[in-house]
């Protein structure tokens, strides 16, 4: 039997209720992504979140403005269930320095794919005669969510650099998916697959969402004499050669420099590499990453050429991590 062209799926009140639920998800997601930007070290991920915060804000705004057209107060968000709030709370909780993959997986592999599925399902059931205002919003958001998901996955796969990170991220995704299932999703009334089908997106369409991905620096532009001094210094640190280390520092900074290193000297450091190189007038700022069985230390050194050799004028331990933290 052919459905009547004016047959509807949702009442006006039910539409408004669903839209408040969508708005809750979009608004909360937008605020969380905004808050995460400062906590996310990788530039590609920061910029991805930065671009999508505005799109999600517009989605929430579109939904909020649609509400008065459905006899409901404007700009009201309402979650479908306490379980969905718990899902969002859990998703938000990953704020650590090394948890960018978890953050991106939560948004781009769980929440956005679910919203996309929900929006597509809603779009398929809207009435084309009297619901075009809702349809137009859904069409726009569906297109943008598809783009976001594709861009997010590009950055996420770039940041999954080891099997350990991949396993950790997969475990996190499955935990969120479990909670999503339990909650019944954004509407609390699941209508099939909560994640929806994977739809390929034209790579050129996501160019606007992506800044360039970080590339490993092959070789830092370190002056040759400085490079030799940095290598020697790292070796002295690894060997805990106190006499040679002291000699690497400028005389006026020896005591302070050795005091800075004291906590590092208790640990075995096996490898090192330069991870940053800056300039401050004639001085050079070198960041060294040192790794050992117990963990990692990142030190920042200010070098100056005095009396024909490079010496350290200032040292700072900028970060230390136990071995498990960054894997």
């Amino acid at each position: 039997m052919v459905a009547h062209p004016l047959a509807g799926h949702l009442s006006v009140e039910e539409s408004a209720e669903l839209i408040r639920q969508y708005r809750y998800a979009e608004e909360r997601m937008m605020r969380v992504m905004g808050g995460w930007i400062a906590l996310t070290p990788e530039l590609s991920a920061k910029l991805l979140l930065g671009r999508h915060v505005w799109d999600c804000a517009q989605h929430a705004d579109l939904w909020g403005k649609r509400l008065p057209e459905l006899r409901a107060p404007a700009h009201v968000s309402a979650p479908a269930s306490e379980a969905f709030v718990r899902l969002m709370d859990l998703l938000e909780s990953q704020e650590g320095f090394h948890q960018t993959p978890e953050r991106l997986a939560g948004i781009y592999e769980v929440l956005k794919p679910h919203l996309l599925a929900a929006y597509q399902d809603h779009l398929a059931h809207t009435n084309p005669v009297y619901e075009p205002p809702t349809r137009r919003i859904l069409e726009r958001i569906v297109e943008e969510e598809r783009r976001h998901i594709a861009a997010g996955r590009v950055v996420l796969s770039h940041l999954i650099t080891t099997p350990a990170v991949e396993a950790r991220t997969g475990e996190w995704r499955r935990r969120l998916e479990g909670l999503l299932l339990e909650s019944g999703g954004v509407s609390g009334k699941p209508t099939g697959d909560l994640r929806g089908p994977d739809v390929p997106v034209d790579p050129t369409a996501i160019a606007q969402d992506l800044a360039r991905l970080e590339r490993p620096v092959g070789r830092w532009p370190v002056p040759a004499e400085l490079e030799a001094s940095v290598e020697a210094h790292a070796l002295h640190l690894k060997r805990r050669d106190l006499q040679a280390l002291e000699d690497d520092f400028a005389p006026a900074y020896r005591q302070a420099g050795m005091a800075t290193y004291a906590p590092l000297l208790a640990f075995e450091l096996a490898t090192h590499r330069i991870v940053g190189l800056g300039k401050l007038g004639g001085h050079r700022l070198v960041k060294l990453r040192l790794e050992g069985p117990a963990g990692t230390a990142v030190v920042q050194l200010r070098w100056a050429e005095t009396d024909g050799r490079w010496r350290v004028l200032e040292a700072e331990v900028v970060r230390t991590e136990a071995a498990a933290a960054s894997s």
Binding site: T40, P41, R51
Partner: protein, 251 residues
Amino acid sequence: MDRPIAYDKLAREDRFIRMRARRVSEIRLEQGLSPFPDLSNQESIKERVHGILVGELQAMEGAGRTVYDFPEAPWEFTMDMARQVWDESRHVEIYVRLLEHLGGYVGEFPETTILWRCACAEDAAARVAGVNRGLEGLACDVFNQLIHIARKIGDPILEQAVDFVLADEITHVRMGSRWLNELTKDDPERRRKAVEFQEAIDERFNLGGIRREGDHEEVPISIATEARKLAGFTDEEIARLIKATQRSPVY
């Protein structure tokens, strides 16, 4: 997440080299350099562009935090801040590309975090006063000068890209002007504190007398009077800023 987060939680890749602003100035002075890049040569322009790049990055992070930290603020305020996040994310990309255009790379110069510290103010009105009006107002002055330099050295890429960023910055200052008024309209004490915060930032960023009233050729950073008027600064506010630059302490 905490609301707000501690300022030392600001996350960076290892290639960024972070230092206190005061220490950077001291080290430059110890080497007989001006406390800030004076744009007198290509290296100095590159250093200034790098400084702007990290400023844009912190502005994006700060606006993102404002979106998160103030869920009870008016919705239109959140929309303005979310729009600013997007704008700043584009500015970061623009300045990364300009830095490369000038032969530089991300992390080539130290990053100071004054902007970020201002963006951690606990009151939304103080944030928009300090960041949108104080620091983005400074950005109008600095970008105006950079456009002038770009024109002078014949670099249309630099000139055009920075001019588009300047247009956005004027919009951000305008947002700051609007929300400073709206958020404090029934609370004169809150307004007074927010304005004081902005003025303290203005004073600090007069850069030891480097920012002054006058022609680009006569002063190191000229106060962008026209851009500021477009952004909602009153004549009285501009006059007060000019007066403050005449008594600003050395940074």
